[in-house]
């Protein structure tokens, strides 16, 4: 059994039949051939996806009401998006470098990703600052309220990601650490970064086109 059986095959097994008993006795007790961390990350991403999808649904419903006034898109938001794309890209390269055991590259990559992550957060705060100076408060219009809500939630997700980025980096910086120890963490962080980029693109696109 090198890969997991399909769910339908599993659910139609007859555990009491003699032939099936012999097969089942060889079972390793694991359903999916994934690390528990990867499965955990996937579960979190599913839950987050549902949260953001519900927000998208609520947004689409609310924007049909006549009082809706779309917000402008400052160039700073485009810059922030570019930063996010760049950090996702760099995570990909860092992951590749970690697979090839390139110590220096991984270290620099991690530093740079952290820098980009924090820059993105600061950039988002600057956008908030700009908007508030222009009088776009959360209470003025539901479109503004959604903007603040989306950016906050996305930012919180990124802060969660930066926490794990920090743990991975500090583990790597310990004297006797090997790149092998953090390879899996880097891979998972990279997946999460791509996920956050995708979420942002969807949210930003939604706000851009409505």
């Amino acid at each position: 059994m090198s890969k997991s059986d399909s769910i339908f095959k599993t659910l139609t097994e007859k555990p009491w039949e003699k032939g099936q008993v012999e097969i089942d006795n060889q079972h390793k007790g694991q359903t999916l051939y994934l690390s528990k961390y990867k499965l955990g990350l996937r579960t979190i991403m599913v839950v987050s996806t549902i949260i953001f999808s519900l927000f998208v649904v609520v947004y689409s419903d609310r924007m049909l009401v006549h009082d809706w006034r779309s917000m402008p898109e400052p160039w700073l938001l485009w810059l922030n998006t570019a930063i996010l794309v760049l950090s996702s890209l760099f995570f990909h390269f860092t992951k590749l470098a970690s697979e090839k055991n390139q110590n220096e590259k991984v270290k620099n990559g991690l530093y740079f990703i952290g820098f980009l992550g924090y820059s993105f957060l600061i950039g988002q705060l600057l956008v908030w600052y700009q908007f508030m100076n222009l009088g776009y408060y959360a209470t003025t219009n539901p479109a503004n309220a959604f903007f603040y809500l989306f950016t906050t939630l996305h930012g919180l997700h990124l802060i969660g990601g930066l926490y794990f980025w920090g743990r991975t980096t500090s583990r790597f910086l310990k004297a006797d650490s090997k790149i092998k120890d953090i390879q899996h963490s880097i891979e998972l962080c990279a997946i999460y970064w791509h996920f956050l980029l995708a979420v942002w693109v969807v949210l930003f696109g939604l706000m851009l086109f409505t």
């Binding site: 599993t10 659910l11 139609t12 097994e13 007859k14 555990p15 009491w16 039949e17 003699k18 008993v21 089942d24 006795n25 060889q26 079972h27 390793k28 007790g29 694991q30 359903t31 999916l32 994934l34 528990k36 499965l39 955990g40 579960t43 979190i44 599913v46 839950v47 549902i50 949260i51 519900l54 927000f55 609520v58 419903d61 609310r62 009401v65 006549h66 009082d67 809706w68 959360a138 209470t139 539901p142 309220a145 809500l149």
Partner: protein
């Protein structure tokens, strides 16, 4: 009997160390474990053992105690409500207080008692033991989950002490009234409630991650998914539902908090309150109802599915028969779980909707009766010609079947739009959901506690006190909820603060109100017997033998009972069969535990279910 069992275990461990016994080696052979042993956290101090414990068994008990403690508060609140309904002339409470009791009672019972007890309590206790794991996948996150739950409970309780008191918006927290003046607790109370819910969801997500990954990835060798006890199936599916449904509550809760605190208009329509136009504009209260019930209906099954699973195991063990139609039971659990996401709007028939929309939801609601009925038939067929032991868990299981059937049938009435519309604001609905979601799961909880108490404490609960507790609870809850159906039919509205002196109701409904209240007080007091039993038996109860119910599932096969840290001693168990090999023809005993290798049961023939 227990000697026999010891012997079997010994034989098993012999096998584990020495495979020289000829014959046994081929049929018992299992592959080497590819999954490396889990690294366990070993506690060093009293604090990390009993308070910030990372052992799922302790966390389960902690969850259960916290949930039951909160639930007792919910019980007292229900007394106060009943006293107000039956004896309004006493004038003990203001209307505001009554609505606060209603709200807090509902929220506490549904979320902080039942959800936390079934998933947090039984999930943590049983998943690792029944799957043959040493602990949950992420013990530290598991601990965080429990403490997050504690904080959520504390925030909820804090709302009793803030100016204005807790929210009185009803457990559904519908805007706009939840955050407009005139509703009790419309400023601080509702905010604390929403914050508490958000914390609960966050804490639950951490716990749910553990339950799912432990069930999927950390089972013992030989434990295929279709060899898992139905309890694990129920808790697992309920966890999946919860992870998919709680985000809707989170989204609704967050947005309403912003409406209340910042003054955004997500759900708040343009409205005039106390002669003044409020600053809200254009929001949609119906949108909140959709979000709430998209969470709220699966929530019913988040509570019911673990109860289904647990009761299946109790019935099988205590009637010494394999569960009838195991696969069908699993499919029914999954089917009910999937369908539960497509029925939510049947809670909103009176909110107004497109008739086709209502038609769709009425249809899906009635379809969900099919897998549910399959389960009820299967329980009855399991009992049929079984060697029924009328032990306490069995009594509670039987009471559950009857109660669940009762509540399910009234659910069929209410699922039809035309029947629901006149009944929806009456006591008929109160009777329905208390039968199906209050009494039925609580009966399973009691049965499960009587069943698994020896596993936790190593002692049995007192049988006599238990029987008294059972009969008062069972008959008493019917005395409470049967009359409510009648009241609903004659049109007594729910949510009313006082209804005396009304020319619209027969005096019999008022008499019934008094009768129900007295029954409720008696049933409530009878729970003290149960608490007494729990507390006293922990020290003075009869010592339980190993595997006192002669069950097959792995939680009873640990080397020590109660199981120690790490559960399994040196070797994790290997599983050779499903957990329902009761009364197998030709076998020496009437049960064959899951970890007994085939070489020890040569005479037994496997019976098709």
């Amino acid at each position: 009997m227990s000697d026999e069992h010891e012997h079997k275990l010994e034989a098993k461990s012999d096998y584990a160390s020495d495979v020289s016994s000829v014959g046994a080696s081929d049929i018992d052979s299992v592959p080497e474990s590819e999954v490396p042993e889990q690294e366990l956290y070993h506690s060093h101090s009293w604090w990390t053992t009993y308070v910030f414990s990372q052992d799922a068994k302790y966390i389960g008990v902690q969850y259960a105690l916290t949930a039951v403690g909160t639930g007792l508060l919910g019980l007292v609140l229900s007394w106060l409500m009943r006293i107000q309904i039956a004896y309004p002339e006493l004038g003990w409470f203001e209307p505001a207080a009554y609505y606060q009791f209603v709200t807090m009672h509902g929220m506490i019972m549904v979320i902080y008692l039942l959800t936390a007890l079934f998933l947090g309590g039984f999930g943590n206790l049983l998943i690792p033991l029944m799957c043959g794991s040493r602990d949950m996948a992420f013990p530290y996150v598991n601990m965080l989950s429990y403490w997050m739950f504690v904080v959520a409970v504390l925030v909820l309780l804090a709302s009793f002490f803030v100016p204005g008191g807790p929210t009185g918006a009803g457990w559904t927290l519908y805007p706009p009234q939840a955050i407009t003046s005139g509703t009790p607790g419309h400023n601080m109370g509702i905010v604390l409630m929403l914050v508490s819910l958000v914390l609960f969801v966050a804490g639950f997500t951490m716990g749910g991650l553990n339950y799912i990954i432990t069930v999927l990835q950390l089972r013992a060798r030989g434990m295929t998914l279709m060899r898992m006890p139905l309890t694990v199936w129920g808790i697992f599916t309920a966890t999946v539902l919860a992870l998919l449904a709680f985000p809707a509550l989170l989204v609704g809760g967050l947005m309403m908090t912003l409406d209340g605190l910042l003054g955004t208009s997500f759900f708040m329509p343009t409205m005039v309150s106390m002669g003044e136009k409020l600053n809200y504009e254009g929001g949609s209260p119906i949108l909140f109802q959709h979000l709430f019930w998209f969470f709220g209906h699966p929530e019913v099954y988040i509570v019911a599915l673990p109860a289904f699973g647990i009761v299946s195991d109790l019935i099988s063990v205590h009637s010494r028969k394999n569960i009838f139609g195991y696969r069908m039971m699993v499919w029914a659990i999954i089917g009910i779980g999937a369908l539960s996401f497509f029925v939510w709007a049947h809670h909103m028939y009176v909110s107004g909707m497109n008739p086709w929309f209502g038609f769709f939801f009425a249809t899906t609601t009635l379809i969900i009766a099919v897998p549910t009925a399959i389960k009820v038939y299967n329980w009855i067929l399991t009992l049929w010609r079984g060697n029924i032991q009328l032990s306490l868990p069995m009594l509670f299981s039987l009471a559950f079947i009857v109660t669940f059937l009762n509540g399910g049938l009234t659910g069929l009435f209410l699922g039809n739009v035309t029947v629901d519309v006149p009944l929806s604001d009456t006591y008929f609905v109160v009777a329905h959901f208390h039968m199906v979601m209050g009494i039925a799961p609580i009966l399973v909880v009691f049965g499960a506690i009587y069943h698994w108490y020896p596993l936790i404490t190593g002692r049995m609960l007192n049988e006599t006190i238990g029987k008294i507790h059972f009969w008062i609870t069972f008959i008493g809850s019917y005395a409470i909820y049967f009359p409510m159906h009648y009241q609903g039919f004659v049109g007594v509205p729910r949510r009313y603060f006082e209804i005396y002196d009304s020319p619209y109701f027969d005096t019999s409904t008022l008499l019934l109100n008094k009768f129900i209240t007295i029954a409720a007080l008696i049933v409530g007091v009878a729970q003290l017997l149960f608490l007494y039993n729990i507390i006293v038996s922990a020290r003075l109860g009869k010592k339980a033998e190993r595997n006192p119910w002669k069950a097959n599932s792995l939680e009873w096969q640990t080397p020590q009972m109660p199981p120690e840290h790490g559960n399994w001693g040196k070797e994790r168990p290997n599983v050779y069969r499903w957990p329902y090999d009761f009364s197998v023809p030709g076998a020496k005993e009437d049960y064959i535990p899951q970890n007994v290798p085939p070489s020890e049961v040569t005479g037994a023939k496997v019976e098709k279910t």
